[in-house]
Amino acid sequence: METVNLKEKEINDLCRLLLEMGALLMSSGANTSRIRTTIMRIASAYNYHAELLVTHRALMLTVYGKDKDFFFNRLKRTPPHGANFKMVSGISRMSWKIVEEKWSLEKVVKELEILKNIPRYPRWIVLLVVSLAGASFCGLAGGKITECIVAYIATLCGLFIRQETAKKGYNSYLCIFAGAFISSMLAGLAVKYNIGDYPQRALISSVLYLIPGIPLINTFSDLVEGNIMNGIVRGVNGLIIAFAIAMGMMCAILIYHI
């Protein structure tokens, strides 16, 4: 009886842990097959089978022993999505260490806690470097130094507004709309008053920091690997983001009559 209780506790803990990892991976921007392989890998390291249903906003997991004496079934909602590749990388590394070094469950819990507390880049670094990326897009499109400065300022302000609205908890598409609108209003000023040689290029590149790069690549890899439902969901998500960007830009263009 003692061992039965022990086993039941172990399978409980394992299932909770696997679901948490899966939810973290999903919200950090991993694709479906990566989530599935990671979860299966860890489960098989503890000699259990795992079956997983992955959707955009929820995960369902069934874990059962090789002898099928116990099984455990649970559903977990995924937290709101926000790209965090440090988490994906950390969990992926950990999953290999669990297999190779035979970690105990307590150690995994501790490591996951450490991973969750890894700080993001400081906000001012994000603002400065992403604005530099905006200026770089302008340079790539053939802009001169004046246009690059316009794109830098527009990206900086737009990203700031987007972060602020996201912090206040507005709808995420609305945040993207606000960011695109502010960016194009600022860059549109340059077009309106003809600052620089090709002010249009500054306008184009000032909203490029919002492009849904992760949904784009993940949509394709999910569709090709046969996770068609998830692929469609991600694709629609990416389309709505692109639409929000276009709406923000369109409003600015209509206001300025460019």
Binding site: S92, V130, I204, Y209
Partner: protein, 169 residues
């Protein structure tokens, strides 16, 4: 000398754009330098293809494929999943100008007269298709190396055949 400066200029822009997105996606610090190098190499292939008379779609595809292969190598060296390198590195090649022109064309179509409509439609559809195909081939190119090697994880490349059989058991 001028062409040299031009190339250096492009390289810096390509790398900085990729690093910016890396920071936005919160990549580990150790992956920033590989992302920079991969973005520079992929973008160079794209510009080279266009310079040699190739289509922008082909150029983007070749650049993205190179990034896809490099991402697998980088994944071994830096111990991170390949797509962490590939997604930020491929973003500088996103066709912003085409997408913008398509959007502008669609907006203008709502209130343009009969005479100008066919020309505008042609232009808009052409720009839109270009943007769509470049995006599609960027995604294909990045995923191609993983599809070609038919493994679920880049780590398996390293394992010997014996170890692989062990793993399957």
């Amino acid at each position: 000398m001028d062409i040299f400066l031009f190339i250096i200029n492009k390289w810096i822009w390509l790398g900085c754009a990729a690093i910016g997105f890396g920071i936005l996606f919160n990549v580990p610090v150790r992956t920033l330098i590989p992302i920079f190098i991969m973005a520079v190499m992929g973008g160079s292939i794209k510009f080279l293809t266009i310079k040699l008379g190739g289509e922008i779609v082909l150029g983007s595809f070749l650049g993205a494929t190179l990034i896809g292969f490099l991402s697998i190598i980088a994944a071994h060296i830096k111990h991170s999943p390949p797509f962490i390198f590939a997604i930020p590195a491929v973003i500088p090649m996103v066709p912003g100008v085409f997408a913008y022109r398509m959007m502008l064309g669609i907006m203008r179509m709502t209130d343009v007269g009969h005479a100008a409509f066919p020309g505008l439609l042609e232009e808009t559809v052409s720009n839109g298709l270009n943007a769509f195909f470049v995006l599609l081939f960027l995604a294909v190119g990045v995923s191609a190396p993983m599809l070609l090697t038919r493994t679920e994880s880049a780590k398996n490349f390293k394992l010997t055949i014996h170890a692989k059989q062990e793993h399957k058991k």
